[in-house]
């Protein structure tokens, strides 16, 4: 072995050790959170803390399903799904118009993205007052409408960036072939943007799924999402930790699975399209 190859190997080993250490550190909070849901009360409140349960016990999950707490995950699913579908539809057609006709010029595009930057706490306050007025507090319609509006700027911005990447020539030749603009939009452009649509859909869904502050203010009991439900367990003693943990598992596991499959879309999605991933 030449000295150079040896040094190379040592370097690779050091990098590998660093990588493993980093991953363990970053995974530890999730591990700890997940493990609590399987511990018995005496294991959770053991001192010094126990790092793993003696056996996997699903009692906490059983309680969550029995008491109906787990239904809040269903609420999250309903509002996230509906608002995502709505935001994707409205956002896609709007993005097409912005990308191909420069509708409203740069100002409209900038205004739309600036809507995304407004802090939720500032808009949720007047919306709450408005919803009280219209009787929309704690309704699916109210929450879905708000998530749709909150996600729209993101969808429009992302889809505009993807549509701009599709060559115009394809659409023009379809127009010559006698397609209407509407048909071009759905039959020519949509299939070309599949990757972008998938990535944007996932992110829109995750935003709605993970939201806390809007749901905290605008839901009570009927449509409370899982994030709100988790905070109901705060501040308690006894078995509340187990519930926080089990509820978090129910709320994060679906997203983890999706993330695993959508890895390659991630970079562009989280960077608002600024970094082509």
């Amino acid at each position: 072995m030449t000295p150079l190859a040896g040094r190379h190997r040592v370097r690779l080993c050091l990098r590998l050790v660093a990588a493993v250490a980093l991953t363990l550190i970053f995974m530890f909070p999730i591990y700890w959170l997940y493990m609590i849901s399987f511990k018995t009360a005496s294991e959770i409140y053991a001192f010094p803390p126990k790092w793993y349960p003696s056996s996997f016990n699903f009692d906490t999950y059983r309680v969550l399903f029995r008491d109906g707490d787990a239904a809040t995950v269903g609420n999250s699913l309903i509002v996230a799904f509906c608002s995502t579908a709505l935001a994707m539809f409205l956002g896609f057609i709007c993005a097409y118009s912005l990308a191909r006709f420069s509708t409203g010029g740069k100002h409209l595009a900038n205004w739309i993205i600036s809507q995304r930057m407004i802090p939720p706490i500032a808009v949720v306050f007047p919306i709450f007052l408005l919803y009280v007025w219209f009787g929309l507090v704690d309704t699916y319609v109210g929450v879905i409408l708000l998530y749709t509006a909150f996600n729209l700027p993101y969808v429009i911005w992302m889809m505009r960036s993807y549509i701009l990447d599709v060559p115009r020539a394809l659409e023009e030749s379809a127009l010559v072939d006698g397609y209407t603009r509407w048909q071009v939009l759905w039959k020519v452009l949509l299939p070309m943007c599949r990757a972008g649509l998938a990535a944007t859909t996932i992110f829109t869904f995750v935003f709605a799924w993970n939201d806390f502050i809007f749901a905290l203010v605008l839901t009570r009991t009927e449509v409370a999402t899982y994030t709100v439900q988790i905070t109901h367990y705060f501040g308690g003693q006894s078995n509340f930790w187990a519930k926080i943990s089990a509820m978090s598992v129910l709320g994060t596991l679906p997203i983890f699975v999706v993330t695993a499959f959508m890895q390659r879309y991630f970079v562009r999605g989280i960077s608002l399209g600024a970094v082509k991933g």
Binding site: F26, S97, V123, P153, V267, G277
Partner: protein, 295 residues
């Protein structure tokens, strides 16, 4: 070949029909509330006062004398000023670590991404469990290093709450920086780096002269996105301290929430919310002009 010349009304206005519904929703949920907010901010509605008479600029005058508000703003800035650079540097170091070939690279990256998709309220709750003074593992681990039982009150002790919040924040968002910077590093022109190496430039010199300028635009965007997110920080603080002890860790979002939904100072909260919107919009407009976000 412009379709507008021969098109029907429908054809000519097609582009507006497409934009219409989205703009309508944005106006309804984005702009209408702002107008309403403006109106309420000139009234004097509180928990006990329901009169909608206009009282002029009283709420706005109160903004300037409200020490708690400016402290909340300061807390937000402090957390941002500490967390953001750490996330950036740590993310960059991690990106550098995973840039070249490494066994299991894809698996490491897939795992490291997970904190980003955890709901911030869940990560706040997670860190509350980890930082628990008695049943959490962090004090236990510190105890091992100290060689004796250590009880640190992370969410209560004024000296420890900020480190706790910032740790949770860094854990959740460093992977975000890492991902963006990894993509950016991957697209740096290799031939330039090799040319620099042939010219005898050391690693650090190459890094600062060639790599860093090349990834600067991505770094700017990443800092911009994260900076704005940090300005709105709510969930993690809510889960860990609810702004406490006292009002020590109130961020601007936590402050607004407590004023509006705990103390029901409706009109004053409207003024605060408007102040936040004006501050942030000015910042965003300025930055958007400076940085070309996505072409």
């Amino acid at each position: 070949m412009r379709s507008g010349q021969r098109g029907t009304f429908r054809e000519r206005n097609f582009k507006y029909l497409l934009v219409g519904p989205a703009i309508f929703v944005l106006l309804l949920i984005g702009v209408f509330p702002l107008v309403y907010l403006l109106m309420v901010s000139f009234q004097g509605i509180t928990m006990t006062e329901t009169s909608t008479d206009f009282i002029g600029f009283a709420n706005y005058r109160q903004l300037f004398s409200d020490a708690r508000l400016w402290q909340a703003l300061l807390h937000t800035v402090i957390i941002t000023a500490i967390a953001l650079p750490i996330e950036l540097v740590l993310g960059l170091a991690m990106a550098q670590l995973f840039l070249d070939r490494l066994p299991g690279r894809a698996i490491f990256i897939a795992l490291l991404v997970l904190p980003v998709v955890v709901s911030p309220i869940v990560s706040g709750a997670t860190w509350a469990l980890l930082f628990n003074h008695r049943f959490g593992p962090i004090n236990q681990i510190i105890g091992w290093f100290m060689g004796r039982e250590t009880i640190l009150l992370w969410t209560i002790n004024p000296n420890l709450v900020y480190p706790a919040i910032i740790t949770a924040e860094i854990w959740q968002w460093t992977p975000f920086m890492f991902l963006l910077l990894l993509a950016a590093l991957g697209s740096v022109d290799r031939s330039q780096i090799e040319a620099a190496a042939i010219d005898g430039a050391g690693w650090w010199r190459t890094f600062f002269r060639i790599v860093l300028p090349a990834i600067a635009p991505v770094m700017t965007v990443a800092v911009l996105i994260r900076g704005l997110d940090l300005f709105r920080l709510f969930d993690i603080v809510w889960a860990l301290t609810q702004g406490g002890p006292g009002t020590m860790t109130e961020t601007i979002s936590v402050f607004t929430y407590i004023k509006g939904f705990r103390q029901f100072e409706t009109s004053y909260t409207a003024a605060v919310a408007l102040l936040v919107i004006v501050l942030l919009s000015t910042l965003v407009m300025y930055l958007l002009r400076r940085v070309e976000l996505a072409r």
